[in-house]
Symmetry: C2
Subunit: 358 residues, 2 copies
C-alpha cells in the first residue's frame, strides 16, 4: 500500500525508512523542493492545501497521515472524504490550539500548569492578576520549538510582550518550577490496541529539544501511561501521540501534546524493540503493535544548526548517526545521534564523549 504524508520533513523521512521494510510505499505532499523525504518517496511539490496536490495524494494512496500539527484543517477534511486520515481530525484540531489542548487535559483529570485565555491587552492584564508572575504568554496556535512564546516577569512591559507574540489569540500560563521535563510516546491502533514507551527525560535549550534520555522503570511511568490512555481513548485516537509533562515531585503537569511521531521519541529507533515510526504505521494500518520495551540504555542528542565532525561521531562505538539531508542553518534540526549502551553509566560516559564533539 502507498501511504500519503502531509509534510516531507525529517519525520516523513523516518516514517518512510521504517515503512519500506513493512512493504509500504510513500508519497509526500510538501511545497519545499528539497524536502528531506523527497529522495525516498514520490514527492508532490505543492502547497498543503493545493487541490491538485491533494487529489494526487487521494488517487495514489490508501491512507494518509501527517508529520506536523499545523497542517491545514481543510486539507485533512478534503482528504478525509475519499480515504482514511490518521490521526483523526479531532485530535489535530485539539492539539493545534493550546487552549483546547489544556482544557481537554483538565477535563480528563490531567493536571496542567494554571492557564487563562488571552484575547487582547486587557485580558492579558487580567490574566497576569489571576495567574501571577512569572508566567509565559503563548500563542494558541502555530507555536513550536519555543516560537510564539514570551516569558513575562515582574516589571515587564505587558504591551511589548503582547506585540512580541504578534497580538494573536494566546494563553497565559503559570511558569512551573519543575524538577524535570519528561514525555511519553503512546500509540493506539485502529482496533484500539494501545502501547506505551518508557518515559524520556528531555532537556531543552533556547526552546529547542537537545537531549532525550530513555527512563526505564521510572516511578512516574504508571501515571504517565494512565494520562496518555485517557487522552487516546477520549479522542478515539489512531497513531502515535506524544505528551510532554513537567514533573514536579510526584505530579506530572501536562504541557502539550503532539498528534504525530515526536522528536523525544527518536531514541526508539535503536533504543526500543520497535521504533515509534514503525508503530505509527502499524497503528494506522491496524496491524498488531510492536513491542515498546527498551533495548539497553538509550539517549538521543539533536544536531542543531551545524554538523559536528561526523567521522568523529561514527568513531564512537554504540552511537548511531541520523542525518536528515538538510542544509545546516542556525537553529535548524539537521539530524540526531542515538547512543545505546548496556548500562546507564556507560551511556552517560558515551554522552560526555559525544558532547565533546559538538
Amino acid at each position: 500500500m502507498k501511504i500519503g504524508i502531509l509534510g516531507g520533513g525529517q519525520l516523513a523521512r523516518m516514517l518512510a525508512l521504517a515503512g519500506y521494510p513493512l512493504g509500504l510505499d510513500f508519497m509526500v505532499l510538501e511545497p519545499a523542493a528539497d524536502a528531506c523525504a523527497g529522495p525516498l518517496s514520490e514527492h508532490v511539490t505543492a502547497a498543503y492545501d493545493d487541490p491538485e496536490g491533494l487529489e494526487k495524494l487521494a488517487a495514489a494512496c490508501g491512507l494518509v497521515t501527517y508529520e506536523f500539527e499545523s497542517v491545514p484543517a481543510a486539507a485533512v477534511e478534503r482528504l478525509g472524504l475519499s480515504l482514511p486520515v490518521f490521526p483523526p481530525a479531532g485530535a489535530l484540531a485539539t492539539a493545534r490550539d493550546r487552549n483546547h489542548e489544556k482544557t481537554l487535559f483538565n477535563e480528563l483529570g490531567i493536571e496542567t500548569a494554571p492557564f487563562v485565555e488571552v484575547h487582547d491587552l486587557r485580558t492579558l492584564k487580567k490574566a497576569v492578576a489571576q495567574i501571577g508572575l512569572p508566567a509565559i504568554l503563548k500563542t494558541r496556535t502555530l507555536g513550536y520549538d519555543g516560537k510564539g512564546q514570551q516569558v513575562i516577569r515582574s516589571g515587564d512591559d505587558l504591551q511589548a510582550k503582547w506585540v512580541a507574540i504578534g497580538e494573536v489569540p494566546a494563553i497565559l500560563e503559570g511558569l512551573v518550577d519543575f524538577d524535570r521535563e519528561v514525555s511519553i510516546i503512546a500509540v493506539r491502533s485502529v482496533s484500539g490496541e494501545m502501547a506505551f514507551y518508557p518515559l524520556a527525560e528531555n532537556v531543552h535549550h533556547e526552546g529547542i529539544l537537545r537531549l532525550s534520555t530513555c527512563l526505564p522503570d521510572d516511578s512516574h511511568q504508571p501515571l504517565a501511561e494512565d494520562y496518555a490512555r485517557r487522552v487516546l481513548k477520549h479522542m478515539d485516537y489512531v497513531g502515535v501521540l506524544a505528551i510532554e509533562f513537567f514533573q514536579v515531585g510526584s505530579h506530572l503537569l501536562a504541557n502539550e501534546m503532539a498528534p504525530r511521531v515526536h522528536n523525544s521519541g527518536h531514541w526508539t529507533i535503536e533504543g526500543a524493540q520497535t521504533s515509534q515510526f514503525e508503530n505509527h504505521l502499524r497503528a494506522i494500518l491496524d496491524l498488531p503493535l510492536g513491542g515498546t520495551a527498551p533495548v539497553g540504555h538509550a539517549a538521543m542528542v539533536n544536531l542543531i544548526g551545524e554538523l559536528p565532525d561526523t567521522s568523529a561521531v561514527l568513531q564512537l562505538k554504540n552511537t548511531h548517526l541520523h542525518l536528515y539531508g538538510k542544509m545546516p542553518r542556525a537553529g535548524r534540526k539537521i539530524g540526531h545521534v542515538t547512543v545505546r549502551e548496556d548500562s546507564e553509566r556507560a551511556l552517560q560516559a558515551r554522552l560526555a564523549q559525544l558532547q565533546d564533539l559538538m
Copy 2:
C-alpha cells in the same frame, strides 16, 4: 554524497535504507522497471552495460558499488575510469569464478573441499576418477542459490550431468559431509580498518538459504576471522565480504565468497550494533567502521515464494519484518524476518512460533 549501485534488488534497497541516515543519496542502475530499490532511489532503467546508463551514474555519483557479483566486468571497468568502484574489480573477477576463488583460498592457506577444473566430458570423467563420488559439478560462473549445480552419484550418467549444467566451464568438487554450514561477514575500509561479525549458522533447502542464526562466541570464530583477514588483505578489499564455510569438526572448508552484502548477514540489521549494510557504506566511504557486536540473540528466516500472514508475524513480539516490495513467485526471495531475543532459548522458542506461520 550520492552513491551509485549496480543492481536495484533487495540488497540495494537495504543499502539505501541504511545509507539515508548517514546523509547519503542513492542512484541505482537496474533494467527491471519494478526494481525493489526503485521507490527509494533515483532509478536509471537500463541494462547494466548500457553506456548511457553508466554515464548517468558516473555523472551523478561520487562512488559506485554493486549488489551482485555477475555485474559485467566491462561496466565496472568503464565506471572505474571516472570514479571509485568498490569492492575492487579484482575481487569481483575472483569471486565470480569458482575456480579462481577456490584456487585463491588454497593459495592463502584456506582449506576447501577437493576440486578440479572441468572443460568438457573428457575432463569431467578424469575429474570423477580423481575426486571420487559423490561430488558436485558446478559451473564456474553465474551460479547462485543452487543454480548451475548438479550432484553426481555413483552410477549417474556423466553426459546428462554435463548437459544439465549447460556444457560450460565448470569444476567438480568433492561432496563434503559437513557438520554445519557457517558464514562470516567481514568488512574492510579504504584505509584498511577491518571488522568481523559473529559467525552465522546457515540452513539451506533446495539450494536456497532459509535460516541464518548468529553464533555468538563460537569456537570457530578465530579461525574464520583469520581466513577472512587473509582474503581481505590479499585483495586489498574494500566493503563487505561474505565467506561461506563447511564446518567439519574443527576445520572450516571455504565454499564460496561474495564480494557484497550477503543474505546470511541480514540478521545484523537488528541483531548487531551496526548492520552489514551500514558498515559496507562506511567502508567504501572510508568512515570509521561501526561495532559488530551482537545485540541479544538473533536469527533470520527468509520468506521464499509466498508471503505468510504478515499480521500474524507482526503479532510475535521481538520479530522484525523486512519485505522487499517484490511480487511473490515460486523460489523467489521476497523478504525476511529477523528475531531478536534475550536468550538462545527464547530465540529458539520464537523461531518455532514463526515456523508455524510459514
